[in-house]
């Protein structure tokens, strides 16, 4: 018995450290879904208006703008043309831009997109799932994601002008 005493002591203390560390660590780094600079955005798998499946991994590794928008949100509607213009300008240099619609009906989205004349991919969120995963609180919210797959900047609320987008795109392309 005596011979194993030390071993048993060490084993028990190690288990305590492990289990306790896990439990305490869990409570210390409790899950906050608000994404900030440097975070890796959660992956998504959504249908586009083009009836194709769009996935996060299709875009990972490229400078990417993810814009969450809805037709019910005036600033979202208003910044759409600026986004489209910047997309046209930078598309050739590898910029990707996707607009994730905030779980609206397809018809509503389609007709708005047609009116504005947007040609970057529009993805349809379902039951607010992606929106929740990205911890959205306000609309629109735009994520600028660098080549390293990490968020470089989050712009919450509108309205982004062309210049404001441009400055950020330049930073994004440089990264």
């Amino acid at each position: 018995m005596g011979r194993y005493r030390k071993t048993i002591q060490y084993i028990i203390l190690a288990v305590v450290l492990l289990v306790g560390g896990f439990a305490i660590g869990n409570s210390l780094f409790s899950k906050s879904v608000v994404l900030t600079k440097g975070d890796k955005p959660p992956s998504f798998r959504l249908a586009g208006l083009d009836n194709q499946v769009h996935e996060w991994k299709d875009y990972e590794g490229q400078p990417l703008i993810v814009n969450f928008w809805g037709t019910f949100c005036p600033p979202c509607r208003n910044e759409m043309p600026a986004l489209q213009k910047q997309y046209e300008k930078w598309e050739g240099q590898g910029l990707e831009l996707i607009g994730i619609n905030l779980s609206e009906d397809r018809l509503t989205v389609e007709s708005f997109i047609r009116q504005v004349g947007v040609n970057f991919p529009i993805l349809m969120d379902k039951d607010k799932r992606t929106e929740k995963a990205y911890g959205l609180k306000q609309y629109p919210t735009t994520f600028f994601i660098g080549r390293n797959g990490k968020i470089q900047e989050v712009v919450i609320g509108g309205l982004l002008t062309e210049e404001e987008i441009e400055v950020r795109v330049e930073r994004l392309m440089k990264s």
């Binding site: 305590v16 439990a23 869990n26 608000v34």
Partner: protein, 569 residues
Amino acid sequence: MFQNTKCECGHQNPVGTVLCESCGKPLIEELLTDENAPLEMRYDGVARRSQKSNPHIVDRIWNFFSSVKIAVYLIVITLLGAALGTIFQQESTLINLTERSEFAAYYKEEHGTLGVIYHALGLSRTYESWWFITLLVMIGTSLVVCSLDRVLPLYRALSKQQIRKHLQFITRQQVVYSGDMQGDNEAWITEFGKQLKRKHYRIWQEDGALLAEKNRFSRWGPYINHIGLIIFLLAVLGRGIPAWHMDQYLALYEGETRQIPGTNYYVKNEKFTVDYYPENELANNQKGTKVVKLYETKARLFECTDVCDDPIQEPVLTEVKQHDIRVNSAMSYKGLKLYQNSFQERVRFISVHPTLMDVATGKPIGSFDLLMDDPIEKYEVGPYTLKLNDYYPDFGLDEQNRPMTKTREPNNPAFVFRIQGPNLQAKGEIYIYFPMPSEKSKFYQKLLNDSFKQRGDSQGVFSIQVENPIVDGKMNNIKYSEYTTYLNIRMDKAMPYIWVGAAISMIGLIMGFYWQHRRIWLRIDEGKLSLGGHTNKNSFGLRADVAWALGRTGIEVLPKSLDNRRNVR
């Protein structure tokens, strides 16, 4: 300081031994000064396992947790901490809030400055806080270490007991008797043992000495209780594993099917009912108030069996369970529980069944079904084709006076159709239809259709409306949900372990509470009988046993007179 731990009987005892492990002679100085004081019999006087003469750092940590005093402090601090969490409502119970700023605002509004302090200190999340969890982990560690350090030496001591004990050990017990003996001592001892056997004692005899013992197992009660508590505690901490625990809320209007986030299950609210007691069923002091008789969600649970992760296609759902969820009657399926939580009275359109009318004749052409969620784009009505051009679930105008939807909910839906068919202009007729039977929507409908007419998009051939919109005071030809139900969806895989832990703990408690470990030692030295008895509780019972057995062997004593502590207390 050097301490000689060898007893006069020749037994080498570990550091910290109170009573010699072999003969029971008191070893520590405090016990040697007063030769008549009752002995400290805790853990049979054996040393705690980890006591050492020169402790190492790990030993020091170990010894910290091995202390019962520390354990008591930990428990008291934990209780006080837990009490702090009950001052104001905890964040986890505020289901509509998610952000730190929202919680901060809530506590400020509800409780003023105290609320701000409460939230800032993190007390609004007491039970998830690092310090509370740390305390629980420390209590758990203390449970393991304390038990281990005591149960092993105790087990060792009890499994190899000496029959002949040191005289002082016997005379300093809580129950004692001494007297002169005549006749055959061995025969008397045998007879005394026989009597005790009738009281279910186990007897060991050695020339001129006897040990009788019963219910030793009750000594293991506390340790079994601790094992149960450790399992309980580990299970509670196990809730931190994401797949083990889920607690979320889902709002469903009548007829809605939604996926339960994070699972492969979908739940449908078929119908929600809220019933109130009629006036005559109410007690006098409740008359005139609304007392709820029933909250019920007729629910169906589906499991996705195919194309579950394809955003293009609809998932294939298989019904796995149907249940009328009521308060205290949750739907339960494979560890998933759906509870009725609350409801909201809110009319939400599901579909409408309008009729296409010929304005000139005032006659109906035909009717069709129009869904509020993802309506289909083409409808054939009579000889005409209605193409849905635009859909605004909650109609409004933006800053540039363009039509838009104000929210995602069909609060005031508007459908823009292009109607094509015989005898119409080639581009068809544009018509906007508002199903909501309100003045405002009908006003908009007229205004917009008139403007289409002016622009030449329409010649005003058609109108779309619901026939017999009101029947018996209820909306007709319109499907709508009256209530939105809120279900609390829970999964707790830790629960079976919590029950097992609680059961083991209870078994341990019962063992320790309802049985007592009783021992009687006696020796006869030169015609003088010395008897000592010890029990961990209920010494009254032990004295009765001893007095009874003595009486049966010719020594009449009052049980009371056996109490060695009578002069002390």
